[in-house]
Subunit: 492 residues, 2 copies
């Protein structure tokens, strides 16, 4: 054992610590930031899993390694990782690398605190409240509550738990067995976290009633009415509707005002899953897509998606001013939330959540907002919409591209390779078309030239979904995307 | 709107991005790392909330700010934040700043990906599996499953949900109403997340049966037996016991072998909440404290606590090899977990969890382990135990200090100020003693000299809980701690 009278090596050697971190930061700037966002570099460096395992030498040993070796490892980790900040990363609902948000994340990591008490997170307790207030104001609320959650799925679960607690406070102590059978409603285009949440919360996936969506993916309020009546007729008690602002695949926005009317008529909690579409509230031009959101009881909004703050930054916003969050989730642990503190213990927000330690997720958004201003962020949203229009028009112009749908900044389309063009009537067309996207995906990933997601949808064969989210995108990147699909698919 | 043919400013200007990040990193090194871990600097810079709000100027505006102003803001955020890496931060179950772990966190942030698919997280999918394998091996399992969760509370919830699903797979679809009333068991010294979890999962807090603990805070297996019989007699179905390895306040380890015997006899799922104590498994000298843990069905272990990897790094480990995680939580979303991918889709681990996007929590631990080796980490654990012994002996030597309990690296004690010494028999002694810790806490925080947590416990008046976790601690810091309490409390 080390002599406990002296500080252990490196841990306590400030110069060595600084040198290491400077070296690592240099590697991060070179590899992850400079190369990672450069269109002359690959978006990914594909390796088969077995080969990658060998290259990374992952096994953890008894002996420590030299500083030099550690730096090589840092380089390798970055080299073989996908560059989600790259302008040709169109694969998920997040893309891009905002430098101020990254700065906020690095500061967050260096301070390594938990969001539960003012005592150990004074700056972040106040900052979280300010950021949530701003997000609520954009929803249209002058008061309310909220919290950052580890992702939109958990935000959605919070909404479900709050809605059932508000109606049946007994549930917290006595559980669901003390309650009548509950029913909640969402459209078939909703995110899968609604079903996962219903299972996790003990409601069961059967409690989720899927409401029909129209051909553009928007919930049909008349069918919501029908489903509510049906559930009631079957003896269930409807308690929540989860509408979606920005569905995952199609990018559809449910008609919130019409849905809110139904909720009001039946006394149901209206939750809006705006994890993807919430950021549109920043755009005066496009925020009409969320008209009616101010009538919601709760809103889930992930700035880590379209605002590119970095994972995770997921706000659950509430209209409630009755301390519902704390009543529903609180347990008054006396070792953490002492009531005899020397400051106002209302600042200790940790008992609002079901987590104990909770990461600081507000700084990255706050710092980026301070740097860009609301106007700068609005410009990004408007730019994303404009580029989406550009992409759609280009798709329409080109042979071999067929649009499935365009909503928001989701562009869904088929690439029809030369061998399939004009064969729409052949009986195996759909089956053959379905194989195109996976084949192209393999090619683009193995070349590292770009990444686009694809999926089947209802009866539709696999199609690509391009997400226009990266704030550094330009028309040239979208031209590249289409050219590259043509190049990769010419022999299919 | 910006001309969409050119890339927007800063976002697309690599040199400006690098300069900003270099500047911020310089501030981080100066303020958070150099000053933040120096004993000649304060551990915190206390400000009243209203004053701090003014100092930080938190409000978010329409206009963006100059780069210079942003850098000032970064400095202020760090300056007024608590330095949890400081050797005099004894306040929580985490303390210290491991440079390799921080390097891993900075790389993680710069890569900004989600852990759900091999496609977009090839390095981290493989790395997470390797790290989990190593942690399982330390538990004593040569196979199994697992996942990193956003904190120990959610790990504990996972265990509860898996246990009920394993017994009643119907629950996922049909919900708790289809099940008999369930009961789970934990000691009264357990973490509050067990009750929070029971409420969240729809079981209700009443389903948690509190088992007695002995005077050192360890679960009494005989009382567990009694509670199980009682629950059965009341018509409930016992399904899970959550034992604790390292309780939050006292640092107690439940007798796992004896508890496992009871579980075996009754066919109950044994979960071990080793969020705090799990890291002791790395020490050949002290791992006997967790003897029997290999008999558990699930283990929650937070390396972000004693191993100082940084928040959050919270593993849920399972002995199961039947893909229980995926069966219990999966929903087969076709837009993310396509089955026609060109690689083995078993690598897409995202459907094991109830989150969708999930942060990368493995790299910080992996990189630190590579640098320190298992031996280096073991040495830290042994050092923490040795320093704890030192602190306890010093407490015993000094007048005015009275030990409540010493277990693990938790040292619980009263500081009895001069005016209360020898007054143990007076009727208001306990009440007056209770006011000492809060008063001292206020003084230490306002001076910024150190931070220690306190709490009441059962019938015991408020006492301090010192956590000896920071890897850079030396005897001199513990001497300082006791001297400082004497200095701050001399007139109380």
């Amino acid at each position: 054992m080390a002599d406990s009278k002296t500080r252990p090596a490196l841990d306590g050697d400030p110069l060595a610590v600084e040198t290491l971190l400077q070296d690592v930061f240099g590697i991060v700037v070179d590899e992850a930031i400079r190369k990672g966002t450069s269109v002359s570099e690959k978006v990914c460096e594909w390796k088969e899993p077995e080969e990658l395992k060998q290259l990374l030498d992952l096994e953890l040993q008894s002996q420590g390694e030299s500083q030099e070796r550690i730096l090589e490892r840092c380089r390798a980790v970055i080299h073989y990782s996908v560059k989600t900040g790259h302008p040709r990363f169109f694969n998920q609902l997040f893309s891009g690398l905002d430098p101020h948000a990254l700065a906020g994340r690095i500061i967050t990591e260096s301070l390594n605190t938990s969001q539960y008490t003012y005592e150990i997170a004074p700056v972040f307790v106040l900052m979280e409240e300010e950021v949530l207030k701003k997000l609520r104001a954009l929803v249209g609320w002058s008061s309310g509550d909220g919290v950052f959650c580890p992702g939109g799925s958990i935000s959605n679960m919070y909404a479900m738990n709050l809605a059932r607690y508000q109606r049946y406070p007994d549930c917290k102590q006595r559980g669901l067995r003390a309650l009548p059978p509950l029913a909640l409603f969402t459209s078939k285009e909703c995110h899968y976290s609604i079903s996962k949440g219903a299972a996790f919360l003990g409601l069961g996936t059967d409690s989720v009633r899927m409401v029909k969506a129209d051909e553009r993916g928007k919930m049909i309020p008349e069918d919501l009415e029908r489903q509510i009546s049906l559930a009631e007729a079957e003896g269930s008690v409807p308690f929540l509707v989860s509408a979606t602002s920005g569905t995952t695949v199609l990018g559809a926005f449910d008609p919130l005002d019409a849905v809110a009317d139904v909720c009001q008529r039946h006394g149901l909690w209206l939750h809006v899953d705006a994890a993807w579409g919430g950021s549109v509230l920043l755009s005066r031009t496009h925020r009409h897509l969320l008209d009616g959101i101010q009538r919601a009881d709760s809103v889930a909004w992930n700035p880590h998606k379209l605002l590119a703050t970095g994972l995770q930054c997921s706000a659950l916003l509430l209209q409630d001013t009755s301390d519902l969050l704390k009543r529903c989730h609180g347990s008054q642990a006396s070792y953490l939330f002492q009531q005899d503190k020397f400051y106002d213990v209302a600042l200790d927000t940790g008992d609002k959540v079901v987590q104990c330690g909770r990461r600081v997720d507000c700084l990255k958004l706050w710092l980026m907002w301070k740097a860009q201003g609301g106007q700068g962020l609005e410009q990004r949203i408007d730019q994303a919409f404009a580029l989406t229009r550009y992409l759609v028009e280009e798709i329409k112009k080109r042979e071999g591209f067929e649009l499935v749908m365009e909503e928001f900044v989701n562009v869904c389309f088929w690439f029809v390779p030369p061998s399939l063009r004009g064969k729409e009537k052949s009986p195996d067309y759909s089956e053959r078309l379905s194989r195109v996207a996976p084949a192209l995906k393999e090619r683009m990933v193995k070349e590292g030239s770009m990444m686009i997601g694809y999926q089947p949808h209802g009866t539709r064969a696999n199609f690509f979904r391009v997400v226009v989210a990266n704030p550094t995108l330009a028309q040239v990147d979208l031209d590249f995307l289409l050219d590259e699909l043509e190049r990769l698919g010419q022999d299919l």
